[in-house]
């Protein structure tokens, strides 16, 4: 464990994987939620706008 320069690539790889995966999970879940909520709002508006048949 004496050669520190050989150890840094392992440290950088581990941090890169965790940070990238966390950012992707955060953005992916946010985008999925926004899309679902927009779709729901659009449907609610369509329902309100449609003429009533009685």
């Amino acid at each position: 464990m004496s050669n520190a320069s050989h150890q840094w690539p392992f440290v950088i790889a581990a941090y890169s994987i965790v940070i990238t995966a966390t950012i992707i999970a955060l953005l992916g879940s946010w985008y999925q939620m926004r899309r679902a909520e927009k779709r729901l709002n659009k449907l609610s508006r369509t329902k309100k706008d449609s003429p009533r048949i009685s």
């Binding site: 440290v11 581990a14 941090y15 955060l26 946010w30 909520e37």
Partner: protein, 238 residues
């Protein structure tokens, strides 16, 4: 608890809570990561690779904490039929699986320079791999039982049975002493020097907040999707 069962109350609370959790998560994680990478000394035995500790331990904590929370939500779904409990359990499965995968990956990367191998069928490593497969099984089961149904009890039963693996993971380092080191931190004592230990609580809090943010986003997605499906069904029935 009963108030939280109301999806409207939950949605308004989650909208207020999410930005604060996200800010806290980013600040705590960043300060812990920067502290762990640049401000702590290398370990006398492991050298620079000890820095992987500050991301490996939070991922392991969230892997086990995620399943514990899924099991708890499943229990609430079983006993009180809490409408949001099933959704919360389903929402936590994906980030739980992700952090379990990250725990295995960072452990493997740490193991190569420290143990000289990427993988060993050691008790701790194998039981965490089993947890990863349990997560994948839970995701597949909850999707296949019925699309985003909150009433199905089969995934809840699976989650409760899967919780048997949690004490096995915890005690694996005592039962099978192979490559993975024993427990070095508990609630009252730590065998790690304070000069190395201080960034760990920061990354633990930070990643836990980010896990909560992902879970809240996914809960809101599942609720919106369920409402959308229900409205479509009602419109089709008219």
């Amino acid at each position: 608890m009963i108030r939280l069962a109301n999806p409207h109350y939950f949605l308004s609370l989650s909208r207020k809570l999410t930005p604060w959790l996200a800010i806290a998560g980013i600040l705590f994680s960043l300060s812990g990561i920067l502290g762990g990478l640049f401000l702590t000394p290398p370990d006398y035995l492991q050298g620079e690779t000890v820095r992987i500790l500050y991301i490996h331990v939070p991922t392991a904590w969230l892997a086990m904490g995620g399943w514990s929370s899924i099991a708890l939500a499943s229990l609430v779904q079983f006993i009180w039929r809490h409408p949001l409990a099933g959704i919360a359990a389903k929402a936590m499965a994906l980030p739980g699986a992700l952090f379990t995968g990250l725990c295995l990956l960072t452990g493997s990367i740490w193991g190569r320079p420290t143990w000289g191998t990427w993988w060993e069928w050691d008790g701790r490593l194998t039981s965490v791999l089993v947890l990863f497969f349990l997560y994948l099984g839970y995701i597949a089961l909850s999707r296949s039982v019925s699309n985003y149904s909150t009433t199905s009890r089969l995934p809840a039963l699976y989650a409760l049975l899967g919780a048997i693996n949690l004490p096995i993971i915890h005690y694996s380092v005592l039962w099978w002493r192979t490559l993975h080191q024993g427990q070095s931190i508990n609630l009252t004592h730590s065998s790690i020097d304070p000069s190395l230990l201080w960034p760990l609580p920061l990354t633990l809090i930070g990643f836990s907040c980010l896990f909560a943010v992902i879970t809240l986003f996914r809960m809101r997605y599942l609720l919106a999707h369920a409402q959308y499906e229900a409205r479509l069904r009602r419109m089709a029935a008219l």
